[in-house]
Symmetry: D2
Subunit: 427 residues, 4 copies
Amino acid sequence: MNINSLRNNFDKLDPHGLGERLRSVRARTEALCAPLEKEDHCIQGMLDVSPPKWHLAHTTWFFETFVLLPFGQNYQVFHHAYGYLFNSYYETVGTFFPRSQRGLLSRPTVAEVYNYRCHVNAALDQILENYTGQNWQEIAERIRLGIEHEIQHQELLLMDAKYNFFINPLKPAYHSQSPIRCPEPPPLAWMEYEGGIVEIGHDDDQGFSFDNERPRHKTFLRDFRLGTRLITNAEYLSFIADKSYQRAELWLSDGWRTVNEQGWQAPLYWIKEENNWLLSGLAGQHLIDLNEPVAHLSYYEADAFARWSGKRLPTESEWEYVAAKLPIEGNFLDSGRFHPDGARCSGLTQLYGDLWEWTQSPYQPYPGFRSLPGALGEYNGKFMCNQMVLRGGSCATAKDHIRASYRNFFPPGSRWVFSGLRLAEDL
Amino acid sequence: MNINSLRNNFDKLDPHGLGERLRSVRARTEALCAPLEKEDHCIQGMLDVSPPKWHLAHTTWFFETFVLLPFGQNYQVFHHAYGYLFNSYYETVGTFFPRSQRGLLSRPTVAEVYNYRCHVNAALDQILENYTGQNWQEIAERIRLGIEHEIQHQELLLMDAKYNFFINPLKPAYHSQSPIRCPEPPPLAWMEYEGGIVEIGHDDDQGFSFDNERPRHKTFLRDFRLGTRLITNAEYLSFIADKSYQRAELWLSDGWRTVNEQGWQAPLYWIKEENNWLLSGLAGQHLIDLNEPVAHLSYYEADAFARWSGKRLPTESEWEYVAAKLPIEGNFLDSGRFHPDGARCSGLTQLYGDLWEWTQSPYQPYPGFRSLPGALGEYNGKFMCNQMVLRGGSCATAKDHIRASYRNFFPPGSRWVFSGLRLAEDL
Amino acid sequence: MNINSLRNNFDKLDPHGLGERLRSVRARTEALCAPLEKEDHCIQGMLDVSPPKWHLAHTTWFFETFVLLPFGQNYQVFHHAYGYLFNSYYETVGTFFPRSQRGLLSRPTVAEVYNYRCHVNAALDQILENYTGQNWQEIAERIRLGIEHEIQHQELLLMDAKYNFFINPLKPAYHSQSPIRCPEPPPLAWMEYEGGIVEIGHDDDQGFSFDNERPRHKTFLRDFRLGTRLITNAEYLSFIADKSYQRAELWLSDGWRTVNEQGWQAPLYWIKEENNWLLSGLAGQHLIDLNEPVAHLSYYEADAFARWSGKRLPTESEWEYVAAKLPIEGNFLDSGRFHPDGARCSGLTQLYGDLWEWTQSPYQPYPGFRSLPGALGEYNGKFMCNQMVLRGGSCATAKDHIRASYRNFFPPGSRWVFSGLRLAEDL
Amino acid sequence: MNINSLRNNFDKLDPHGLGERLRSVRARTEALCAPLEKEDHCIQGMLDVSPPKWHLAHTTWFFETFVLLPFGQNYQVFHHAYGYLFNSYYETVGTFFPRSQRGLLSRPTVAEVYNYRCHVNAALDQILENYTGQNWQEIAERIRLGIEHEIQHQELLLMDAKYNFFINPLKPAYHSQSPIRCPEPPPLAWMEYEGGIVEIGHDDDQGFSFDNERPRHKTFLRDFRLGTRLITNAEYLSFIADKSYQRAELWLSDGWRTVNEQGWQAPLYWIKEENNWLLSGLAGQHLIDLNEPVAHLSYYEADAFARWSGKRLPTESEWEYVAAKLPIEGNFLDSGRFHPDGARCSGLTQLYGDLWEWTQSPYQPYPGFRSLPGALGEYNGKFMCNQMVLRGGSCATAKDHIRASYRNFFPPGSRWVFSGLRLAEDL
């Protein structure tokens, strides 16, 4: 198994630098779990959610399976059953415990999972310190992939903790950092872009990327406009006030069915109390801030809002074409707030961080796409159906994890993602 | 309600010609039902299927609702409850009877549905004969849409009858026209096409189209090759023999789940009997013909076959770019056989007729898409999510109904469609 | 296979008399289907319902399987697949078509089913005319069982037709015999009975019975009172008006769950229209008659009404102890009205006919119960769990089919039965 | 709210004795949880199971709701939301958190639940120490009910822990007390009993009982025989070896459906490994002991075994009539082994302890039954439908909790109960 196609600027990545990044990312996962009680580590509040304990173990399993087992010298597997328990969906690695039952396992305990992490960390340290062999390039690329993988699970951890706390009638808070009240954002304005043939996708010479961002390729854009900022709670309230959740003509057929089956009346985490809307977040419940961007929408809701506005969602090509020229700055995981912030400048803003932006693009392979060889080929490619692309990262995404070419993807009915919405239109 | 966007070469369409086409299409629907017993008209073999009786009534309701009620002079509704019973999914027209329960209605009887057809036919005749008013353009366009709509339901009628008979242990046949045994097809060869910016979509000056085919627009193609013919049963048997239905790595994640949940081992209508594969068709069961194109595949199976072949499915742009240069010739509904035929020439063939071809393109709005105004806007646009595009028509599609730009669409797990598969690859 | 335990006064039953009864019962089944259109014969409005066509065929299959195949001389099976299609639930006879899919079969057509009936009728005639052999006793007993079985399906036919028409928005009527308006019934009074050891169950010397009525056995009754008549719609309306469908404390736990899951607010076939309650019946919809007995209740509703009344339902022993002394008179299938009538005399009345009466007795084997040998043992015995006993027959039960010892049984949530309610209480 | 009907020999029960029993039972609940990790406290392995943490809290809520809130002087509710979270099913007390979601709550933590227990224990101590008022009788009866209620939940705790560990691929053990290997039991023999009118049910003068055991009443028994001991694993293996799980004729209809839907091939906790049967228990997995009584059967399996044996299950009247004459001795919770033991003497044995014995009696009200007044009336009465009675207690039942008249009840498909089987037959 050789993941050549991952190969990019890793030759520049020395074992020392890689090891430092590895340790700091691994430590951050544990720091993110620090506010959780042992009991909190076991809960799977709905099918999409995994217990925090499972994230701690699965990210460890990833290194064990893809780095230590093929390349570790005399590596001893920590526990023979963990391969079954903590494989997420890699069919070619072996069978795995049903996803829907992850919340039914009290064992291993949290303490045992931490032992597992220590065991694997130590073995990774050993590889990083001692290895000088011919496989170094391959090993480094896989460790780098494991690091990015673990960062993805850091965001999932926060998404899942937020959901698990939300459904608990005791309304526990993950932390006490109340969201900052936002000033009134500048009016929504429009940036114009000329179309033509453009290139999108990741350039192999530009450092790490996932396979689904490659190859860089030409595409044709029409002239378009992009909204300067994310849609706010205030704007979304107008949509609700216009009875949009009761008007079939604004919705895709599957969306309308979902709205009715699920009884949706507002985004996830909105709670109507008498005449007020409360928002349930990681810091508990608070009155909705009208100036914040609207969050935790499904694609269906984003699409309906766009239709109601007489606009549309951007394509992922349009989004990337614009974003690629901008520096990666914004409100990320690194701030420790894990809550979207309001737009604070009148130009084009919020493309990175705050909230993932739904695009109107189904998640499909780029022309010429090749998935990674072997089991790692299951990482992204097999999900390229029935999902929609989101772009730009969120307040739960690490800053050094995101790129202009980064493609996130979720089924159109998903709402526990830190997702938001930006409008576009044809010129 | 004005459906300007439908407007194309209708001015050339005189009432007389339109009336003739209307009557012949309406008569063909009834002819297609002639082999059915009254009992056969009532059955809904699965959720996707509608009883033949329902098709007879719904196509009539379409004219009543969109032509006679807004434009008929003194038109008397045939039955006050039929609007509820035979509206398919037009939310803005009113509520409708649950689709899943269409097979629970013994009334109206078949005879009453035919009375309904007569009543509406007579009123349409009257409009066509007498009308000279200012709305003629609008009326003609709506009648034309109703005609194309009814042709679509003719294909559905055959799909549904085929399915309803298939699940019956008595194995009834719709007709006695056994499929013609096919000669061995020419070897699969590859046509090469140079990429660049091309235009696809329907040109408004070129006659009727559905809204989802418009507007004509530029897109960028890479160089590609297209297989000369459809994949055959013989080729698909190799895929099965290679244990592909048991190998997760060949499948999309949703496809693999579906294969296992549904216990798929072969395409729909394939029946293993001892060491033989039988095919269940409208003429009953017969030994599979290895030279025929493989039919009644889901998108998941078409995609897995392509992956197994080291190829891919074409995009809808590639398909249309190639097909647009070809005459519309092939094995259509008009032959009365309703069964795909084998490839009989060595060049590029079978693009039209025989079987709809799955493309790798999700069903999405074209850039600049506008759905029809009013309730007719629900015809196509609201389904642009979670479905895949098929192209080219089938042996159950009328010849004068299909075009290069025609976009059919179904969820990726659908198999009762007359669907097949053609391969493509990058140069 | 010898069904000795069926043996009772059959020696007195000559072939001639048996044949006459057979022919008249078989003819009545067909007469009951006469008002139905062909389309009506195919519908399965819910899982409990079977299409009328299925009843016509299944009752025929019963004679073919249990009489003609074991005892017919040179009997030729009508169709090799009918054994699979029309076996209801006799596991030891062979596999059978899934009950839930009976409404998915358009074939055999109604005409073919009638041919099947003719074929079997002719073969039965032949046996009855010519047979003088040693098996006569066994044959006669099985024919007698087949006759009673077909009468049971006559009631099911009416239950099912009523339901199928009810769910059709066109509100078709089975016949035009509107229910007779009832005079105000006499006030509910109480008959007192002294307890002690009594005998219930069928006495083998007293003619035909099903195995579940045997053996006659002793049981102990406490002193009790029995209500003189069935509970009326007026009385049940008081229960509804007292918000009983919203008060958990009146209901069994399973009943309360069912009320909420199903959204029950009234018995089946009650339709609230503005301020009126309509009843949907075989003669279409009409204003509810307050003087009629309340019909189409589940056990849960009957039990809740009794609790609300401060009374209870009778046990089956109590019911039988009282009924055994009464002549079998009442409003039966024979009248052709198929609708319950109001109480018309002030003494104990309505025990037979009008409506089956829910008892508080779970359907269990009597002490010493032996089911029939062989496949016929599946007739009754295997259902002795999770069902409740009803007594006395209904307006859709044939008069010569019912007895004091007759035990009908349905799951406690069933409502499409012609079921009603009589109260009892301890002294 | 006055629960007179609970009143029996409580006048003899002084506050001091009651307090001692309360404290020792409350302490035993906590001792039973001592081997569990915090993580184990949160798991709901299937719908019937509740997390151990929930049992700890719910038993506490019972005292808070039925003793402290109505009778505590200045009692301060521990947490306003616990009434909602820890009410099990008392509709008349208020709404409650959905049972199916008990495993989705990480909060309150285990530590918080223990604080809740302390808070309520202290308030109960205060009542027991200081109260001399007129309500003492009522209070004492409610405390006594709370004690028996908590003992019931001790058994549920063990049932639930056993199940939660069973489904965990790591196969954790609750404790290390392996079951004692049993000597070969004496051959199954039969005790004969003469029938007639007998009395069963609890006598009000004989101390505590639940409402469902009352009133003591006459019933009529036929002559019968009762098996001397429980059926063993060896005997049940013969049943399995006779392909009984594949033979429909041995099963009730609902049982046969369940066998096939659930894929049952053996009792719960039996695991086939190559040619051996392992048993999964609270001490982990071990080879099955042929001499042990067969455990964790559904009613359907017990009934099928009896039919296969040519016998039947006893009625609850028969069982009680026999058991009432025996001293309450056996293998109970008190031993700390929580595993059934083999029969060790040749006479009538094992009626109490080891395993609950399925009877053929549906759970129904006794003649003259009155449930407790108010919300406590929901304790037992509302479940008297669709459940079967079990008798005699198990190795997870406290010795001082069981009586001859004690009626346990579960739906016929339940298998996580410590249930077994004893045969009976008619003379």
